[in-house]
């Protein structure tokens, strides 16, 4: 066994340190494979950022026109965490060859998704808290969680690990937002008529979402292709 601390230039001048692969300790079964290349991931991150930025903006617009105080205060936290999500996605873009000025780049997958965002943001009057919250917490955020999880399953787990880490943190917080939204909507929808209003709104927004192809423009898992 060699007692050399540093390798020399000849075969017998190796060190004595034990050889491990980068995946030996702890055992790591990840493989180099993924559905998205750098450009595809960059486009998806811009798509995700578009949804997060607009969601933050519309929630900000609604705070003043929602009469229920716990909804106002609850949205305050959701707005901040959604802004942080958009910020983290923006910081990933220069790392994906989008240029150093790409920090604020957002891009709708298509005009139908941009229209969907405007449709979700449409309710304005103070008697429409159910419609406001249902579009975001029953439909949009659950959709985003689904797509973020899909991305994390399908992207290269080693090469695109920074995106995976960002999305994993976002997913954890979004699950909390969904739970908060469900609790609020359940409390607000006390009667069958109010429950029906919530269902109708969610169905309407879900149909627009489906027609748009979702945040990346390709909704069905089986139909996913490189963007």
């Amino acid at each position: 066994m060699s007692d050399r601390m540093y390798p020399g230039m000849r075969a017998e001048e190796r060190t004595g340190f034990a050889p491990y692969s980068a995946f030996d300790i702890p055992a790591d079964l990840r493989e180099l494979h993924g559905r998205y290349d750098v450009e595809a991931t960059a486009l998806r991150v811009r798509n995700f950022r578009y949804a997060e930025e607009w969601m933050m903006m519309m929630l900000g617009g609604w705070v003043a026109t929602i009469p229920e105080i716990p909804v106002k205060t609850g949205l305050g936290k959701v707005i901040w965490q959604t802004a942080q999500a958009a910020d983290e996605l923006g910081k990933r873009l220069p790392e994906l060859r989008c240029g150093r000025k790409a920090l604020e780049a957002s891009e709708a997958a298509n005009s139908a998704f941009a229209d969907l965002i405007q449709a979700i943001a449409e309710p304005e009057s103070p008697d429409l808290t159910i419609e406001k919250l249902s579009g975001v917490f029953d439909v949009l955020i659950p959709h985003l969680v689904e797509i973020y999880e899909l991305h994390n399953r399908e992207t290269d787990p080693i090469c695109d690990a920074p995106t995976i880490d960002i999305l994993a943190d976002m997913i954890r917080r979004k699950r909390e937002h969904i739970q908060w939204g469900q609790d609020v909507l359940d409390a607000l929808c006390e009667t069958d008529a109010l429950k029906q209003r919530r269902r109708e709104r969610a169905d309407h927004i879900a149909s627009l979402l489906k027609a748009s192809g979702g945040v990346t423009g390709v909704l069905e898992t089986g139909q996913e292709t490189l963007n």
Binding site: E53, M56, M57, M58, L59, G60, G61, W62, V63, A64, T65, I66, P67, E68, I69, K72, T73, G74, L75, G76, K77, I79, W80, Q81, T82, A83, Q84, D87, G90, L103, E104, A121, E122, P123, E124, P126
Partner: protein, 319 residues
């Protein structure tokens, strides 16, 4: 969803009633003349009365008459003074609705200015969370002191005065005017909590004050950024801030005068980015209102006339 909403469209639940914002405007423009102050408040009497009926301010009105707000605003909070608890609750409720409007102002800034720089939106988003926590803190403190949400009428003049359609003026109004006033009020509340050994209030308000200094700093930085290379825009923004500061001084109740109920928190404001020059100007603007002597004399006349009128009504009813 439209951009820019008037203060009348701030949504509230069934506990709230509104106060006519004209009262605050009038208070900010009163001259140092007892007769004028008395005449103005007598003129506003029916409006003030209608606004307080059915709220916890009703006993204060019944005791002091239409000038009750003069007494409440211009006397420092004193745990030993008469009606100390209702006055404290009135102040605390005013802070609660002020936080509500600060949240709404910051949140609307995110929606109203979609083309603003991303860092601006981030700052406003952070402020939303902070103001949301402040609402929760002041609801807790209100209950801690024996009060409840909606017990007094809400004046929406903070939102009305501060929420301009121009982003530089919006941050000058909300982040420097409204949040600067918050620094003054919270420093005063901390002093009051120390006097009454109320550790719960002292610690909570101290945390809130730390947040407000950050919000004022946002405002100081964004006013500079939005008016960069545009001296005329900067001048207009400063004029707007002066106008807001004048209205938020409540006729000198918040000022650097020796008799001020709410002194200007100079150290906190300096830390938040106000310059010495701006503070001198604020001291001058806020001290321009009627003297405390004028206001308290007017309040006494209003009280005496109100009591005389009540007595006359009683006599008439019994005869």
């Amino acid at each position: 969803m439209k951009r820019f909403i008037p203060h009348e469209e701030l949504a509230r639940d069934s506990r709230f009633v509104r106060q006519d914002p004209a009262q605050a405007t009038v208070l900010a423009s009163l001259p140092d003349d007892v007769d004028t102050v008395v005449n103005v408040f007598e003129q506003f009497g029916p409006l003030i009365e209608a606004g307080v009926r059915g709220t916890s301010a009703e006993p204060l009105f019944d005791e002091l008459g239409p000038g009750f707000m003069i007494s409440v605003l211009n006397e420092p909070l004193d745990p030993e003074a008469g009606a100390a608890v209702p006055r404290l609750l009135l102040r605390m409720h005013g802070i609660f609705v002020g936080e509500l409007q600060a949240l709404e102002g910051a949140a609307r800034s995110i929606w109203d200015f979609p083309d603003a720089p991303w860092e601006f939106k981030m700052n406003m988003a952070r402020q939303c969370w902070d103001e949301a926590r402040h609402i929760q803190i002041f609801e807790k403190l209100l209950i801690h002191l024996g009060g409840h949400v909606g017990m007094f009428p809400e004046s929406t003049f903070l939102f009305e005065a501060a929420c301009s359609d121009d982003p530089a003026m919006r941050v000058a109004g909300v982040n420097r005017g409204l949040e600067g006033l918050a620094c003054d009020v919270f420093r005063d509340m901390i002093r009051f909590a120390e006097k009454t050994d109320d550790e719960v209030m002292k610690q909570a308000v101290d945390y809130v004050l730390a947040d407000e200094i950050t919000h004022v700093r946002f405002g100081s930085e964004w006013v500079k950024e939005f008016t960069k290379n545009d001296p005329e825009h900067f001048r207009k923004t400063q004029d707007f801030r002066r106008e807001v500061d004048k209205r938020f001084s409540f006729g000198g109740a918040r000022s650097d005068r020796e008799d001020a109920a709410i002194p200007i928190a100079r150290e906190d404001r300096l830390e938040a980015g106000f310059t010495e020059e701006e503070l001198e100007e604020l001291a001058q603007i806020s001290g321009e209102g009627p003297s405390k002597q004028t206001l308290m004399t007017a309040a006494k006349i209003l009280h005496d006339r109100f009591k005389a009128s009540q007595a006359a009504e009683t006599t008439e009813a019994t005869s």
